[in-house]
């Protein structure tokens, strides 16, 4: 075996293309949802009619009534949040209302009160606050029928969890009642 052969054997075939992993950020770019990068700081109100990914600092209010909000691992949100679905990988300080579900991943930090139909909290997540599980039927009824007492509609009575609540640590499991 000459020197050239040895060199060839030592060269391992590698790809110049990096692996594409399914991170929330790449998901955000792929699906065309709005994204706030980690070097961005916003002070004020955010209203969105499309899914939003926040990896920067946001202070104020965030409202995405029919869409999903994802707080990336670098995201720091000091705001009251309203969305259909909220996924937290970073930190939120403020009350969160998610009409469908909230998903608090491990390493995430949430300090505030939660109102939602379903919740998943992974082991390792830090959460401080109260949780109101609101039945989805009650939400729909509240949305369609005009309330006799506006105050009653503003503060729905916590009732039994809806059809599903996830199970920790990572795989949400449907709970049949």
């Amino acid at each position: 075996m000459d020197v050239k052969d040895v060199k060839k054997e030592n060269i391992l075939p590698v790809s110049s293309m990096p692996f594409k992993t399914a991170t929330p950020e790449s998901d955000a770019k792929g699906s065309g949802q709005a994204s706030i990068g980690k070097a961005v700081k916003i002070n004020g109100q955010i209203f969105s009619k499309e899914d939003l990914y926040i990896d920067g600092d946001v202070e104020g209010t965030v409202e995405l009534h029919e869409n999903r909000l994802t707080i990336g691992p670098n995201g720091r949100v000091q705001a009251s949040v309203r969305a259909r679905e909220v996924v937290v990988l970073g930190a939120i300080q403020g009350n969160v209302e998610a009409s469908d579900r909230i998903d608090i991943r491990k390493e995430a930090k949430l300090v505030g009160d939660i109102k939602t139909a379903r919740i998943v909290i992974e082991d390792g997540a830090y959460f401080k606050g109260s949780i109101d599980i609101v039945r989805q039927e009650a939400q729909k009824a509240g949305a369609t029928a005009a309330p006799a007492h506006p105050a009653a509609a503003a503060a729905p009575k916590p009732v039994a969890a809806g059809a599903a609540v996830g199970s920790s640590p990572a795989v949400p499991v449907e709970v049949k009642r």
Binding site: I104, I119, V120, I121, E122, D123, A125, Y126, F127, K128, G129, S130, I131, D132, I133, K157, P158, V159, A160, A161, V165, G166, S167, S168, V175, R177
Partner: protein, 221 residues
């Protein structure tokens, strides 16, 4: 291998085993089931009512949130021991400064008077210094409603002051799944007399002494 005291806490079911295991297997192994008369009594006392406010000092545990929510109650969680360590460091020696205690409780139990109808204390109270413990119980009395029930677990073995710190997951009204979060030093031994004195402002204290050196305590406000 599990320490002897850990085995005792889990009861006889923890004895099977060993050999070399992966971390995933160990995690699975420590998720052990335990019957709890105290838990059963706690849920018996709040049965038939919906919309109660329950405080869980064991931190956010999916199963507990799910269980309490399915009963129709509102749950508030506090990672009490985690923040205790952040505030004072591990161990009870540093938990003596009145100003620091006041600041800690103002942060952790800053709820309006008579907010809660039930409190799941789990084993959190046994790792506090007498000064911090007394102040905490005082705050618990303030934030609970008359008729509120609290469930606490205390190591009843007077010989050693080190006990396994557990994560408690509610499986059924009388069953818990336990996993160990580490070993911690208790600040003081707890017997029935100590506990009655500690909760003297409360209406009643009921004990369930198990054979695994564990005292389950139901306190009624």
């Amino acid at each position: 291998m599990l320490p002897d005291r850990f085995k005792g806490f889990f009861g006889e079911s923890s004895g099977n085993n060993p050999g070399r295991r992966s971390s995933a297997q160990e995690e699975k192994e420590t998720q052990l089931e335990r019957q709890s008369r105290g838990l059963e009594q706690f849920f018996f006392n709040i049965r038939g009512v919906e919309g109660l406010s329950i405080l869980d000092l064991g931190g956010a545990v999916q199963e507990n949130i799910e269980f309490i929510a399915n009963l129709g109650h509102r749950i508030t969680t506090q990672a009490f021991l985690q923040t205790l360590d952040q505030a004072f460091g591990q161990g009870s020696i540093t938990q003596t400064d009145p100003a620091q205690i006041e600041a800690f409780l103002a942060q952790q139990l800053s709820f309006p008077d008579q907010t809660f109808d039930g409190v799941l204390l789990w084993d959190t109270l046994q790792y506090m210094s007498p000064a911090l413990l007394a102040a905490t119980v005082e705050q618990l009395h303030r934030i609970t409603r008359p008729g509120c029930y609290m469930l606490g677990f205390f190591n009843s073995d007077d010989k050693g002051l080190s006990s396994p710190n557990m994560k408690f997951r509610i499986a059924k009204t009388n069953t818990l799944h336990l996993s160990q979060r580490g070993q911690r030093n208790q600040a003081q031994p707890f017997n029935n007399r100590n506990l009655e004195r500690l909760f003297v402002k409360f209406d009643s204290v009921k004990f369930f002494l198990t054979r695994e050196h564990l005292r389950e305590v139901i306190i009624r406000r």
